[in-house]
Structures are given as structure tokens and as C-alpha cells.
């Protein structure tokens, strides 16, 4: 669906996006995470054709901006991070205006407006002035507007920043709905937890680079947080520690009163071998568990802890 290939963007001599490549398959809800200034907005603006890339290219459904500039615009619905509305303009007029910019005729547009306003739960605001709506409503209206031309790809830049908790939940429900309808969606955020619950896959960006990408579980696995096991031992702590220290391929992370935290590379068979070894040497192994995969921690690790993460 969407391919970004070796994308670079320079602002003067500051490089905001560094050799970014990614592929988002059709129907994905892709989360783009990274601290402020990571280059998310820059990347999304290039995808939407609002900014010219320094090098690299964006391909959507086999169309590139150079070859099909008009068609590609029809494929994308964009909800910017900051946007305004016109004064003295009613909700339905707002929808009709943008509809006419896509060449949708008035009758079709009226029907579409009804449907989309219902979808974003703004039907009863049809005749109100756009600038009188609350921030969350404007945001949802903007999503409805971005859907007018039935784009295959919906791009939302920090859609829930500046919203109160209730509006956030409504926005999230709306996005889940759209995902259910089979839209491909890219959504950016600097808050990971916001995305981890709804996205099918995420990309973590830091200082212009994509530092991790894939399904959330895969990212956790790749980060090896997955391979940390905590062994609960009641007796014979010292002996257990010496045994483990002797083992190749196993790192001892920490030793507490009756817990040993170890890290081993790779497969579960490896873990079996460690456990069998311990038991054969009569270490009283009371139990063991995997360390909880912690995405936040992973995120902090990948983006550098000095950056704010939420």
C-alpha cells in the first residue's frame, strides 16, 4: 500500500529525516512514535505532498508523486497536527466546500456529509458554526472531512494531542471503527501507550531515524526484553549463582534475596537446558517467570532516556 523508500529531508543543514524506509500494508493501523522533534510531522507532510523530499520517494498503490500527482492526492486523507477552521462557516458548508475541492457534486456530497457526520458523531451539529465546536469535535470533523473523497490512506498527525481524556477515547473509538472498515491508517504520537493498544504495527522514530519497526510483539522480541527470565530460588542461592556463572551464553543480570535475573539468547530449548542443569545440581528451583515485556522501557531505551517520553 504505502512504501517510503530512502527518504531524506534537510532543512538547511539540519537533517530532519534520515534515510527512512518503511512499508505499510493495506488495512494496517500504523503507529508512528517518537519524541518531539523526531521528524514524524516532516515525514507525514512529505507523504501528503505538502513538503518536497530532499531525496527518496513515496509510493502509494504503485503511484509515485512524480508520475501521478493528481491521483495520489485522491488516495490520501490528511488530518494535520495543528489546523484551523473558517469563521462564519457552518459544519455542512465546511464539508461541502472540501467536497467541491475534490470535484464531488453537491447531491453526492450532501449524502456523504450525512453519513460521515453520523460516523464521527456530529450529526446534530450539522447547522452550527464550525468555530463554535469544541476542540475534540473539530478534530472529529476534520477526520470526517479527510474521508470525504474515500481515500485509501488516512494520515493523522498527533490526533489526540490537546484533547481531554473523554475526547481522546472518542477519537480512539473512531479510529478503531475506521480500522474495522479496512482503511489503511497512519497515526503519529509522542505517547507510546496511546498507540500500543490500537495499532497493528508501530515504527519508532528518533532524531530522524527509524530505530524500530514492526508488530509490537516483534519489536519487544527484537529488543530482547523478552529473553530475560527471573528464577525464584528458596535455598542454595550461592550454588545456583556459581552454576549460572559457569554456563556459556547466559548473562547474570541481578541477584536478589531469592530471585536471580538472567538473560539468555534465543530459543526456549535454551531455557530448558538452563533449568535442567540447575535441577540436576539439586538447586531448589521454586519457580520461574519471564520478565513482562515493557514497551515503555523499550521505547525509552531506543529513543534515549534524556528525551521526554510522554
Amino acid at each position: 500500500m504505502l512504501y517510503i523508500e530512502h527518504l531524506n529531508k534537510w532543512y538547511g543543514n539540519h537533517q530532519a529525516v534520515k534515510d527512512l524506509s518503511l512499508h505499510i500494508p493495506k488495512g494496517d493501523l500504523f503507529g508512528f512514535v517518537g519524541p518531539n522533534g523526531a521528524g514524524k510531522t516532516t515525514t507525514l507532510r512529505i507523504v501528503c505532498g505538502l513538503l518536497k523530499e530532499s531525496s527518496g520517494q513515496v509510493v502509494i498503490d504503485q503511484m509515485s508523486r512524480k508520475k501521478d500527482p493528481e491521483k495520489i492526492k485522491r488516495c490520501i486523507g490528511y488530518v494535520p497536527d495543528f489546523f484551523g477552521v473558517y469563521d462564519n462557516f457552518k459544519v455542512w458548508e465546511y464539508m461541502e466546500f472540501y467536497g467541491s475541492l475534490y470535484g464531488i457534486n453537491a447531491t453526492d456530497c450532501r449524502k456523504l456529509t450525512e453519513d460521515l457526520l453520523a460516523l464521527v458523531n456530529l450529526s446534530e451539529k450539522r447547522d452550527e458554526y464550525v468555530d463554535s465546536l469544541s476542540r475534540g469535535m473539530k478534530q472529529r470533523l476534520c477526520v470526517a472531512r479527510a474521508l470525504l473523497h474515500d481515500p485509501a490512506l488516512l494520515v493523522l498527525d498527533e490526533p489526540s494531542s490537546g484533547l481531554d481524556p473523554r475526547a481522546r477515547i472518542e477519537m480512539k473509538e473512531l479510529l478503531m471503527n475506521l480500522r474495522g472498515m479496512g482503511k489503511t491508517i497512519i497515526i503519529s504520537s509522542h505517547i507510546l501507550s496511546e498507540l500500543s493498544e490500537m495499532c497493528t504495527s508501530i515504527g519508532i522514530m528518533n532524531q530522524g531515524k527509524l530505530v524500530a519497526i514492526g508488530k509490537i510483539e516483534d519489536i519487544l522480541h527484537a529488543g530482547a526484553v523478552d529473553d530475560v527470565v527471573i528464577l525464584e530460588i528458596r535455598k542454595d542461592m550461592e550454588r545456583a549463582v556459581t552454576i549460572i556463572k559457569q554456563m556459556a551464553n547466559v548473562d547474570l543480570i541481578s541477584v536478589m534475596e531469592n530471585e536471580i535475573k538472567i538473560k539468555y539468547p534465543g530459543e526456549d530449548a535454551e531455557l530448558n537446558r538452563i533449568l535442567i542443569e540447575l535441577m540436576q545440581q539439586d538447586v531448589m528451583l521454586h519457580g520461574f517467570h519471564r520478565q513482562e515485556g515493557n514497551l515503555e522501557q523499550m521505547f525509552m531505551q531506543l529513543t534515549g532516556s534524556e528525551e521526554e517520553a510522554s
Partner: protein, 300 residues
């Protein structure tokens, strides 16, 4: 052909704004004032003699230039104010990005913005036609003069609107865009004199020689005035009210080479219109390429 969506949107929005209604009120009031003063100046007694004395009646001809010149000045000042917010206004309101992701083409944004400014201004202009018509019904000017006047005003509006939209595409803020459009208009109206002035001084200084090439230089320098709306209207008033050119005629009488082709005044006006429209088109092209995000290295 569908009407440009931007025109529809802008007209809907401005029609609801207080500023537009108040502007209309101020404009009508001002024209009214000019009208009253003109009446006064014409002759206190003309009103009484109007129906009896045809000589008095003809004095009402002056009502047309009086009111229309006042109107031209207002129009010339208003358009930059209306059109200079074309792009900057959308940017300041943060609606520009969304606009550019839709399928509208940069040139359509330019024509839409110009169109809405021109329509608003022509509404002002048309509203004042009845006042000017006094000069026609009573003074006996023929109807086509009014028609041509409206066409020339439209050309002026197009020129100024294209300049203002261009400024708006170049500048970051509406205020600077407004100032820049006034400056460009000033350059066109004020600085197009310079070549002629310089050529004339030069010619005068070397008048002893009085060579053909010097005079040719003066003639050519005159052509720099073609894009100048002031001279276009000067010639228009000359042709319509006194039956011939005012300004160019004086050069023809000087015996300058080639100037005699402008003798009747009409050719000057036609050429002037053509050149102004070409200049407008140039500004429109520049504006369109400036707002196209896929164009140039612009970072904003």
C-alpha cells in the same frame, strides 16, 4: 463550468462578516459625499434650471468623472486589502495545508482568491452606477462610456488582485503582503514615469542637437507608461468626454516619432488593457508556482 469553490467559500464567509457590511456602508457614504459636493460645485441653481436650460444640463457631465475618479481611488486602495490575505490569511488560520492536500490546483487557488476579491469589489462598483448615471441621463454622455468604464475598472481590479495574491504567496504575513502589494502598485503607477522623465531631461539638455534618435528615445520611454492605470484612465476620460486623447496627443503635437499612431487615444487604451492583462497573468503564474509545495526548495 463549475464555479471555483474558493470563490463560493470566500463570498459566503465575507457576506456574513460585519466588516463587509460596514465597508459597504462607508463606501456608499463616501460616494454620496462626493456626489453632494459635486452637485454643490456644479451650480446651486442648476437644479432649478435643469429642466429648462439645456446648457445647464450639460454641466452634469462633470458628475461622471467626479464620482468615478473618487470610486477608482477607493477601488485601487481596497483591492490590495481584500486580496492580500489570499494565501497568508489561510496560513494564519492554519487552513492552507488542508487546502493544498485536496485536488485543487495552485492556479485555481490563485484565480479563486482573485475572483472573490474582484467580485466583492465589483459589487461596490456596480452599486455606485446609479449615482454616476446622473451624469449620463442629464449630461448626455452615451451609454457605452459607462460600459467601457466598467470594463476598465475590471481590468484595474484584475491587475491589482493578481499583484496582491502574488504578494500574499511570497510574504509570511498579511500585513507585509498588503504593504508589498501597495508598493508594487506604486511602482507601476509612479515609477513608470521615470523613463519618460529621464528621456525628456536628456533630450532637453541636448536640445541643440535635436537628433532623431533622441526623439525616438523619448517615444520609447513613453511606452513604459502603457502598464500605468492612471494614464489608461486619463486617455479614457479624454476620449469619452473631450473626444480625443489628452496625454498622448501632447506628445504627438511635439512631433515625436511613431506617436501619431496613438493620436485617437483608443489604441493607447487597448494596448494598455492588453499589457495589464499580460502583467496580471505573469503575477498569477508566479503566485501559483510559489504556493505549489512541490515546487522549489521552500521549507515552509
Amino acid at each position: 463550468m463549475r464555479i471555483n469553490p474558493i470563490i463560493r467559500k470566500d463570498l459566503t464567509i465575507t457576506s456574513r462578516s460585519m466588516r463587509y457590511s460596514l465597508g459597504m456602508l462607508a463606501y456608499e457614504g463616501l460616494l454620496m459625499l462626493v456626489f453632494m459636493i459635486a452637485m454643490r460645485v456644479l451650480d446651486n441653481t442648476s437644479r432649478y434650471y435643469a429642466s429648462l436650460n439645456s446648457q445647464k444640463l450639460s454641466e452634469f457631465i462633470a458628475m461622471f468623472p467626479a464620482v468615478s475618479i473618487a470610486e477608482l481611488c477607493i477601488v485601487a486602495l481596497i483591492i490590495p486589502m481584500m486580496a492580500a490575505s489570499a494565501v497568508t490569511g489561510e496560513k494564519e488560520r492554519q487552513t492552507f495545508d488542508i487546502l493544498m492536500t485536496t485536488q485543487i490546483k495552485p492556479m485555481q487557488v490563485v484565480t479563486g482568491k482573485m475572483g472573490s476579491a474582484i467580485i466583492r469589489v465589483m459589487l461596490y462598483v456596480l452599486a455606485s452606477v446609479p449615482i454616476m448615471a446622473v451624469g449620463f441621463t442629464l449630461g448626455g454622455i452615451s451609454w457605452w462610456v459607462l460600459l467601457i468604464y466598467l470594463v476598465l475598472t475590471l481590468v484595474l481590479a484584475i491587475l491589482e488582485a493578481s499583484i496582491a495574491v502574488f504578494s500574499s504567496a511570497v510574504c509570511k504575513r498579511t500585513i507585509t503582503a498588503t504593504i508589498m502589494s501597495y508598493l508594487i502598485v506604486f511602482v507601476i503607477c509612479g515609477l513608470t514615469f521615470l523613463p519618460l522623465l529621464m528621456a525628456a531631461i536628456y533630450d532637453f539638455a541636448l536640445s541643440g542637437m535635436n537628433s532623431f534618435s533622441l526623439e525616438l528615445g523619448v517615444s520609447l520611454a513613453t511606452l513604459a507608461l502603457l502598464p500605468n492605470p492612471i494614464f489608461m484612465f486619463l486617455e479614457f476620460y479624454g476620449v469619452s468626454l473631450s473626444g480625443g486623447s489628452i496625454f498622448v496627443k501632447s506628445l504627438v503635437d511635439e512631433g515625436l516619432p511613431f506617436m501619431e499612431i496613438f493620436d485617437g487615444g483608443v489604441l493607447w487604451i487597448v494596448l494598455s488593457v492588453v499589457i495589464m492583462l499580460l502583467i496580471s497573468f505573469g503575477f498569477m503564474k508566479l503566485a501559483a508556482s510559489k504556493i505549489d509545495p512541490m515546487n522549489g526548495k521552500s521549507n515552509k
